[in-house]
Symmetry: C2
């Protein structure tokens, strides 16, 4: 809990809900007759609605990206270090929108929502959603908010895939895309890890084939396992080593299956904590959205060909110790953009934190994002239109 809201915070924020009654046909073929998206905004939309930035979240993210919901909150939103007045994504200049994606479990329509056709909770019957579906629904949210063109669409990991998809699907609706620690599609190993995570959940008898709420149950064992495994892939070997090493719980080995090494305790805790805040069916959906994403499939695997549709500027960021989506994966996008003749900046950031680095305010990373967005601001909001705030960095 902050004693006082920090000066560089967006402050107290209240989530808002947008209802959509226009049916949405998903990639899987099913149609959602109606749905809602929960979102938050930070900063002020300017008169010509040219200063909007959309934040796309990753696997377990949500709409609460910055600020506090309550003075009693222990922590601010998940990307508070990057979003706020004077921060990398500067709310003195930009109007920032963060939403919970369709299929989520934090207020947008998803497996824990009521299916209006049955008046039952959707649970496992909620259709599989894809990155394309998310981008479609985000575009409708933009319509509702009166935003024709985003100054930037920003995301890390699975969020970066959404930014990439935006550039292909709605090339005229964004001036720039900031794609951090992402990939143009999952590798075989990435899919394999996702499959183990899904099997962990599915094999938990408390999962009840995805109808656990109906059965007054929660698959905490399986979802916890999936999160433990995920955590290993989010952290670098170095970061885990630096944080825990072979640090023991007791002075001597106990020679049993209790905690011997602190890293075991950390993983068990992370797994358990996650089950208290996240829905297993949503987790399953998110892993599938990752698996399915492969925009180059439309152009016979030629990423440059599909990216030739893009009309925005790109910033790609990768982190040296990220082995989930290594720098090589970002460079596939960079090289394809260069081949397609698109304007792209690329920052490969030295970082020890592995894939998780995208959530940390690493100075060179934050500077790279800020410099890029400042340049975009100069294009979309000539200094005269930027109001009273100083813009002389």
């Amino acid at each position: 809990m902050p004693d006082a809201i920090p000066a560089d915070s967006v402050g107290l924020v209240t989530p808002q809900i947008a209802h959509f009654d226009k049916p949405l046909t998903l990639a899987c073929g099913q149609t959602l007759a109606s749905y809602q998206l929960i979102y938050e905004t930070y900063g002020t939309l300017n008169q010509d609605a040219s200063n909007a930035i959309l934040i796309c979240h990753a696997l377990s993210g949500d709409h609460h990206a910055a600020g506090y919901h309550d003075m009693a909150d222990k922590k601010p939103g998940w990307w508070d270090s990057a979003i706020g007045p004077g921060k990398a994504i500067d709310t003195n200049h930009y109007f920032v929108i963060a939403l919970n994606n369709l299929g989520g479990c934090c207020g947008s329509t998803g497996p824990t929502s009521i299916n209006p056709e049955t008046n039952q909770v959707w649970e496992a019957d909620f259709p599989i959603v894809t990155v394309e579906d998310w981008v479609e629904s985000q575009a409708r949210l933009a319509d509702l908010l009166g935003i024709q063109t985003f100054a930037a669409i920003v995301g890390g990991s699975l969020g970066g895939m959404q930014a990439l998809e935006w550039s292909i699907r709605f090339p005229k609706r964004l001036k720039s895309a900031v794609i951090v620690a992402s990939a143009p599609k999952l590798s075989t190993q990435n899919i394999a890890f996702n499959e183990v995570a899904r099997q962990s959940i599915r094999r938990d008898p408390d999962f009840f084939d995805g109808r656990y709420l109906d059965n007054e149950s929660i698959p905490t064992n399986g979802l916890g396992l999936a999160r433990m495994l995920g955590h290993i892939t989010y952290l670098s070997d170095d970061a885990m080593g630096a944080k825990f090493g072979r640090q023991m719980r007791h002075e001597q080995y106990q020679y049993n299956y209790g905690i011997e090494f602190e890293v075991e305790s950390y993983l068990r805790y992370q797994g358990e904590a996650f089950t208290k805040r996240f829905d297993a069916n949503t987790y399953m959906l998110m892993t599938k959205a990752l698996d399915y994403f492969d925009p180059a499939a439309q152009t016979n695997g030629d990423l440059a060909a599909v990216l030739s549709r893009a009309e925005c500027e790109f910033l790609l960021v990768s982190f040296t110790t990220d082995w989930r989506f290594s720098p090589v994966r970002s460079e596939e996008i960079v090289n394809a953009l260069i081949k397609a003749g698109k304007p792209v900046s690329y920052a490969k950031i030295e970082a020890t934190e592995g894939h998780d680095a995208f959530l940390f305010p690493i100075p060179r990373y934050m500077q790279a994002v800020n410099s890029f967005l400042t340049r975009i601001a100069d294009q979309v909001m000539p200094p005269s239109s930027q109001g009273e705030s100083e813009h002389a960095r």
Copy 2:
């Protein structure tokens, strides 16, 4: 099933069992009053018992390293490609012993054996065994077979840890150690993966706290998951990519939780097959033995200091795409040996197979092992003592 036994095979082999009635006190403090080890031998022990090689197995290995048990066998032993007449570990010159370690589930005393004190199956009551315990029990097997000094002790992965431990614990009982794709201790990430594997098993309700046989049950879901996860860490990202890529099961995405990508099918199959041949309690024990191994802990983390006790020659081998025990981990041992002034050869082998490469007959790898062992043969068995077989490579 071979139509005929290949000429370079050790042929039909029969496992043997050695009983030990001298109590063995384990690192954990518990004592086994008696136990048995199952083993196989290939080649002929020479008169002065100077040509013996011990093969130490890895996590899921056993005593059946080479040859066939039956003409109907579909496959030979797990390291048949390396052991046989004219092969890297040449049975024309060497007498090779392969055993199943204590705690195993293939015939040596372990969780599936009867506890003589209770006349019940041990199951989860079987004590935790360590690399040190294995080396101790292997030395007793050597005593029984009349082998004072091994020409070489050879192992990959967890097997390499046993060879390393031999060099420290019984420096006078081996002329050389061949340590392949191994590490001087697990990294934090290695421990973390093991913990997820153990939790997968423990959280399976069919595990019954390790007393599943008593409950006429087998934790196939949890053990299968552990194996799926293990498999990902044995293979390189590149190898998985080359083998499966994003190869789909159907022409179009099905948008469900069935098999979409062939790698999912492969993993499920590998997991299931493993549960038919391996015991979950043994799997748990093996992961603990890996976790606990850390010989440098005796010398305040100074690996060179503990290795200064060694008196043998070393061959270290690593594989470029192994990310479970990367070349850097082998190089920790190489550098410590150099610091300790010990004779060490090191081969870093280009291989696409990841950690699993240690099981493949990669020519440069097999040549490195063979050249090293030929040099050792010249030392321990002067040409005149090597019998009729030609030894002029």
